[in-house]
């Protein structure tokens, strides 16, 4: 088997607590499908037959009851539950499932919505025998107004500095603004080997990584690394150019065990790629290919640890981890997958005006004289007469009484909007009730119990 897929679905959605305090992030509805359906669909389309899903018990329960998950996902899902209150990072989760991992892995986050041709990332991983291959995308501007945002959008949070070589494929440098105190410092060894480096800041990390099995084994020994994105990836990128990796002395396994304490030996685990290493070396020596030119070193500068990145220029790639991203995804995701705009079991009366951009979920009841434009309406929602819904996201089980006017808002599950309410750019939390004739603009309406969480 070549690659094992691992889906990280235990994240808490810390950047959009308003949405996630009741529904776990993995099951948030996007285009009337749970969020984790999208990466699972991507893996299924690519040909995976089994996925290891790391998630919480709550999500597992919801998954088993959700009809979409049961019907559409034909792969075998091996669900591993972890504690949700424990501070388990993504790397910790990998360490937790180390026993299940038999080959190289493909780690995907549950909040990724994209239609990338995965073979581009995996081909880099295969062809160059890389230790890490990841996917990044040019960041899209979010155009929709986000409810509850006061004033202009904050300046970009914590930028990522990504350095790639001239071909745009080899990853040379990766750091987050938060980790750089004085300034961006680049080691001379990198500059000597790659004199031309392009540093990009406007990239979104899709959190899709191909990792060698040796990395998982390495994680098992180094318990200090807890997050893939935050710690493991920058570590691997730095290690490409460290001195020990450039002296390819592959010792026997027996000797390795004696030197386990030595820091240099940890690299050997990362470096041993195949049992026929001398044969691979012979093939590389005889091959007349080099990945760079202009200096006297051989292909890859003799380095055994290589990290590659595929940067998507066009095509959708969203990480739904903020409210703005969630709204944008709702707008665009259904188009990606050619959703049927109206679910067959929805009951829509004749005199309802429905725009072509709207998506109605299962078992909805839309009454007369309503107008629904550019909105997504979830399952089992009841919309009474004379309601105008525009640019909004309405989740499951919501009741909207007559005469309401909802614009640019997000209404979470099981909320009740009283009659004649007028909501503009609001976020109504789970199970909330908006009193009739209320007029709210640009507000986040959540319950009192949620305010306690920090």
């Amino acid at each position: 088997m070549e690659l094992q897929a691992v889906l990280m679905a235990a994240g808490g959605g810390s950047r959009m607590t308003d949405l996630t305090y009741n529904t776990p992030k993995a099951m948030l509805p996007v285009g009337n499908k749970p969020l984790m359906w999208y990466p699972l669909n991507l893996l299924e389309r690519m040909g995976f037959e089994e996925v290891i899903v790391i998630t919480t018990k709550e999500v597992q329960k919801m998954m088993s009851t959700d009809p979409k998950m049961k019907l559409d996902v034909k792969m075998k899902l091996d669900v591993v539950c972890i504690q949700e209150d424990g501070d388990m990072g993504t790397a910790d989760a990998l360490r937790h499932i180390q026993q299940k991992i038999k080959t190289d892995i493909l780690v995907v986050s549950c909040d990724l919505i994209t239609d990338v041709a995965l073979h581009e990332v995996v081909d880099l991983f295969r062809a160059h025998n890389a230790t890490l291959a990841m996917l990044m995308s040019k960041a899209h501007e979010f155009t929709e107004t986000v409810p509850g945002q006061k004033g202009k959008k904050k300046t970009a949070e914590q930028r990522d500095f990504v350095g790639v070589d001239q071909s745009g494929k080899r990853l040379l440098f990766m750091a987050n603004e938060a980790d750089l105190e004085d300034g961006l410092s680049i080691r001379k060894s990198i500059m000597r080997k790659h004199p031309r480096m392009h540093i990009k800041t406007g990239l979104v990390d899709a959190h899709l990584y191909c990792l060698k099995k040796a990395v998982v084994d390495f994680l098992a020994d180094n318990k200090s690394i807890s997050s893939i994105r935050g710690e493991l990836v920058p570590y691997l990128v730095r290690k490409q150019f460290s001195k020990t990796t450039n002296c390819p002395k592959i010792k026997d396994d027996a000797e390795d065990q004696n030197q386990k304490k030595n820091d240099g030996s940890t690299n050997h685990e990362l470096l041993i790629s195949s049992r026929d290493e001398p044969l691979l070396q012979l093939a590389q020596d005889r091959s007349c290919w080099n990945d760079h030119r202009g200096d006297m070193s051989e292909a890859y500068h003799g380095g055994k640890l290589r990290c590659y990145v595929h940067i998507m220029d066009e095509g959708p790639c969203y990480r739904v981890n903020t409210l703005a991203a969630y709204i944008e995804a709702n707008r665009l995701a259904p188009k990606l997958f050619e959703e049927v705009p109206v679910h067959p079991s929805a009951v829509i009366s004749e005199r309802c005006q429905m725009g072509s951009d709207s998506y109605i979920g299962a078992m909805c009841q839309i009454a007369d004289k309503t107008s629904i434009k550019r909105s997504t309406i979830g399952n089992s929602t009841t919309v009474k007469e004379k309601v105008k819904v525009a640019n909004s996201i309405i989740m499951h089980g919501v009741t909207i009484e007559e005469g309401c006017n909802i614009q640019g808002s997000v209404i979470c599950s099981n909320a009740v909007i009283g009659r004649g309410a007028d909501l503009k750019y609001c976020l109504v939390g789970n199970g909330q009730q908006i009193e009739p004739e209320a007029e709210r603009t640009n507000e986040v309406i959540v319950g009192a119990d949620q305010l306690m969480e920090i």
Partner: protein, 543 residues
Amino acid sequence: MADAGEPEGPERKDDIVKAKQEGKELTKEEKQRLRKEKKQQKKSKEKKDDKPSRDSEKEKKPASAASPAPQTPTQPPAQKAPSAAPAPVPVPASETPSAADKPAKSKAELKAERRARQEAERASKGKKGDVGPQAAPGKPKAPPSELQPVVKRLPEHVQVDNPEVLKKLAKKLERQQTPEYNAATKIPLRSDYGYKVSLFSHLHQYSRKAPLTQQLGIPSTVIHPAIVRLGLQYSQGIVAGSNARSVALLHAFKQVIRDYTTPPNEELSRDLVNRLKPYISFLNQCRPLSASMGNAIKYIKKEISNIPSQCKEEEAKRKLLNCIDCYINEKIVLAAKAIAKYSIEKISDGDVILVYGCSSLVNHILCEAFEKNRKFRVIVVDSRPRLEGREALRRLVQKGINCTYVLISAVSYILPEVSKVFLGAHALLANGYVMSRVGTSQIALVAKAFNVPVLVCCETYKFCERVQTDSFVSNELDDPDDLIVTRTGTTQLEHWQEVPSLGLLNLVYDVTPPDFVDLVITDLGMIPCTSVPVVLRVKNVDQ
């Protein structure tokens, strides 16, 4: 055309009848001619509608007319009957003028016939299969083969412009599913890219931007991951060069054998060979197999089928892995050492050696010679679009050898300085031709013109039983987009596909005739180019 044929028959017949009437014995060639005429008349009666037969008749007639002509000078001295002498002499005399203007007439008429025939065929598609391959251009084998009762089959990889052959290939790939996975997973067919120059339209031309992995599922279950990785490395050019490709192939096969388990009720010797077949088709689609790879595959298949059925799986696998290691050690590593030893005898102090492109063997030889303290300098000749010479230059300069670098356009300028030319080979063909990177024959030609000795270094495992005299019939077309270059911000050829009369041709190999090669240095010793069939024969006897 038909009319031109008939009068010639009776004409000749008249001469022969005259000779008969003169009561002289018919000479041998006249008897032959009679026999041929009878055959042709029979055929023309049978296949009246078949124009190609007529064409071949016409071609044969001038050919047969020409052949007695050279025979006649030898015949008269042999014959003692004086009266027979005048008979054959006027006959060829009358024939040669007719033969002379026969070819002139028939060539033009042949062309016209062929064109008319092709148009008739295009109008009525789906006719007999043997009409198709004969109509295709660039197939010199077709007309002569028609006279024999068995039609010669051309290999599939040089019939890319024949839609029936493509259909057959697609079906073959479909059938080659690995037995484990009964799902409808098959090896995808890679489609050709871009406009192909008509002379080479019978070959595949793939684009590097459309890899075969696009059509495969991501965790490749049909094909072993090591083979997928290898195929990618071939198609992207990461593993390039005959030796490197063979070593990488054997390395991948080692991994396949390691991961192999015999299914129940199957024998390892038969099942493993069947398992390897789809992998080889896959690799062939990624990049056409080289001659050295073909020989390595033959060896492995032979070794696998020679495994006795009583052998346990673990032991059989161990034996196979051992065989592969031995093969690489003997045929590549030790062969390189032996060749270096022989070549160093040929390198003397003060030599100026010219090398072309990046041949791993030639680089090895030069590095060894330098270590043995021979004083020489090297001129590296390079050519677009691959520019492999830069890699050779890097390796030689790293060792400390004095090097000069020129492009192939400067070869005639630099050759007066050169004392020897060392060339690497991709394969050595059975008729003594050397198949190597495109540009090699050019260098050999110019070197011959300057009387500079040309030495080709080649291991014996690259000797191949194919025969080729030109670079058209069997070659490899690389990605045409490699020829596009961006200088000072402008890319002139960016939209080459939109220009209808423009085709980009990126050839990979060419063949050098043995007249230009002075010596071939192999691990068996230094042999002339024409001794290749002997080596092949000896190898076959050994095995």
